[in-house]
């Protein structure tokens, strides 16, 4: 396990190098872009010196790394803002979306998978099996951005049940004071119930869209591993010993869970950037949307910051997944020690 943690350092360094190189390959001169086309050449040259852009690439990289370590993510020339501050505002928006999406998968998809994997069951279960079979086939093939639009059309345009794609809050609600950055939690903490209601209402459709599309692989993985676990010897044996049904299911689930946990990790890693389409459709002002704007306007610093943050996040998620796996399965523990 120690080896796993040690590996993290070179991994992160490599990620920063790749990010750096990628961004350097984007067309245009960062200093010129930052100051605008009308700035005098002398000023541009001055900034180039400041950012060490006149130095050889390795020196530039070291300078970049130094700025990073001091928490300086650079300056967005399009928004004329500090990228670090922008991220602080937008990362929570994305994380909130992902967190509730994953929560919904955990509360809906996983139990559904367990129920439909179990043998027998009444008419309800059999109906569920039919429905989820179709779901498993379809959900993975639907584009998330399209599904979001469809839901907006049905539930906002036609039924008026939910607010439209106007961001994280309605116009009437004031944003809650910043505590965690999650509007729902901050609103509750500060007693701003108006904002809480609005935040929840604005999250419903994006979260449903997200978990419908990206819950499909989770559902399939959970059902397939659970089916295997339920067919295994130890399940028959546990049944034979007369253990209660919930306990038999729980014991089987403990064996079925690790690949599902991995799947959760992969999906949350993917979603940090991959949720961008849903963010765009619902105008949630998340980090993905921020990156897309930056890319379409060749705004260097935000892209660089985003790619780095996302990559680091992914690496950390995988680390957490490994740690969980390590905690769940005694066999991994033993062999890794050896």
């Amino acid at each position: 396990m120690l080896r796993r943690l040690l590996l993290l350092v070179p991994q992160l360094l490599l990620i920063s190098i790749v990010t750096f190189i990628l961004i350097r390959m984007l067309p245009g001169d960062p200093a010129r872009l930052q100051l605008g086309p009308l700035a005098p050449q002398a000023g541009v040259d001055e900034l180039r010196r400041q950012l060490k852009l006149d130095q050889p690439i390795p020196v530039q990289y070291i300078a970049y790394l130094e700025r990073l370590i001091h928490g300086d993510f650079g300056h967005s020339w399009v928004n004329q803002s500090n990228v670090g501050a922008d991220l602080a505002l937008r990362v929570p928006a994305t994380l909130e979306l992902i967190a509730y999406g994953l929560l919904m998968m955990l509360l809906v998809h996983v139990p559904l998978a367990i129920i439909t994997a179990a043998r027998g069951g009444g008419t309800v279960t059999r109906l569920l099996k039919r429905l989820t079979f179709g779901y498993g086939l379809l959900a993975g093939a639907l584009p998330d951005f399209w599904l979001g639009l469809l839901l907006i059309f049905i539930f906002f345009v036609r039924l008026h049940w939910t607010p439209g794609p106007e961001g994280r809050l309605g116009v009437a609600a004031t944003p809650p004071a910043h505590v965690t950055g999650f509007y729902t939690i901050d609103a509750l903490l500060t007693g701003n119930f108006n904002a809480f209601r609005s935040a929840v209402a604005h999250l419903v459709l994006p979260v449903v869209t997200l978990s419908f599309v990206y819950g499909a692989p989770i559902y399939k993985m959970a059902r397939s591993t659970m089916t295997t676990a339920l067919r295994s010897d130890y399940t028959t044996y546990a049944e034979g010993l007369g253990l209660p049904r919930w306990r038999v299911l729980w014991y089987a689930w403990r064996n079925a869970a690790p690949p599902v946990i991995v799947m959760f990790g992969v999906i949350s890693g993917y979603l940090l950037g991959g949720a961008v389409l849903i963010e765009t459709v619902f105008d949630l002002n998340g980090i993905g949307q921020y990156a897309v704007q930056a890319i379409t306007t060749s705004d260097y610093a935000p892209i660089q910051a985003f790619v780095l943050v996302a990559a680091v996040f992914t690496v950390l998620v995988y680390l957490v997944v490994d740690l969980i796996h390590y905690g769940v399965d005694p066999r991994v523990r033993r062999t890794r020690k050896a």
């Binding site: 034979g240 010993l241 007369g242």
Partner: protein, 274 residues
């Protein structure tokens, strides 16, 4: 004592999707208190299926189409899933082949044992653990408190089988169904495990159904033997009678093969010693 504990009357099992022949056909058996009956046959004769039928744990695509399994007079087929669950472990306990794969790999021995104990008896966690430790001692495990913390993969095959025996005996069931109880064990360990099981079962007045390929086990431990082939019982007789004067040709084949194997085994040990 006139009523048998476990009674199979013309049990027939077929596939639900209309497979050609029944997998079990017209099986009848009776076990009384203290009876030890062996069921022998080649692989594919339907022995394991018989075990699962008695336990009412048939795979989803198989059905008991004719006949009855009675436990103390009650037809198990008429019971609900919940009632069956209550019988399993208390009246009817399984010992299944290859104990290491029967134990959930992610559960400590102690957790499994306390779970089974606490399913039927309202005892504290602590007390359940103590009882489990005592039980492990009964099945000949020397440092029970340490073994309670062990995961199945840390046990040897024989040790795992002892744990399974302890699990089966936990609620003093009246019938023990043992399917290949010695599969995957070393020859020396096989004897120990069988002696242990036979002794404990006798002490608890339970009846036993031992399903095995090993005629040696049958000869040693069973009072009566049923020979299965192709899902039917082709011959059933008291052990001595069956070994002395087998009537069905298949029984004779099995006996002949077993004797030959016995010869092989003896020469093997000689070779090992050399």
């Amino acid at each position: 004592m006139s009523q048998p504990i476990l009674q199979l009357e013309g049990v027939t099992v077929e596939t639900t999707d209309g497979g050609p022949a029944p997998l079990l056909e017209d099986i009848s058996l009776e076990l009384e208190v203290g009876d030890v009956i062996g069921v022998v046959g080649e692989a594919g004769a339907g022995k394991t299926l018989l075990v699962r039928t008695v336990l009412q744990l048939l795979p989803e695509n198989l059905r008991l189409t004719r006949g009855r399994v009675r436990l103390k007079g009650t037809d198990l087929g008429t019971l609900s899933e919940a009632e069956l669950r209550r019988l399993r472990g208390t009246e009817l306990a399984p010992i299944l082949p290859d104990a290491k794969s029967q134990l959930n790999p992610l559960l400590r021995v102690g957790d499994m044992m306390t779970a089974v104990l606490r399913t039927r008896e309202k005892v504290s966690r602590k007390e359940a653990r103590e009882r489990a430790a005592v039980l492990l001692q009964t099945v000949g495990i020397t440092d029970p408190t340490r073994r309670l913390e062990a995961y199945p993969h840390e046990l040897s095959g024989g040790m795992a089988q002892r744990v399974c025996i302890a699990l089966a005996l936990m609620h003093s069931p009246s019938v023990i169904i043992a399917d290949e109880p010695t599969a995957g064990l070393d020859v020396t360990v096989q004897r120990q495990v069988m002696d242990l099981m036979a002794g404990l079962v006798r002490a608890r007045d339970a009846a036993q159904l031992i399903v095995t390929r090993d005629l040696g086990i049958v000869a040693h431990y069973c009072g009566r033997v049923a020979v299965m082939r192709g899902g039917r019982i082709v011959e059933m007789a008291p052990t001595i009678e069956l070994f002395d004067s087998p009537r069905h040709p298949h029984t004779r084949e099995l006996l002949k093969a077993a004797r030959r194997e016995g010869v092989v085994r003896r020469s093997q040990t000689v070779a090992e010693r050399a």
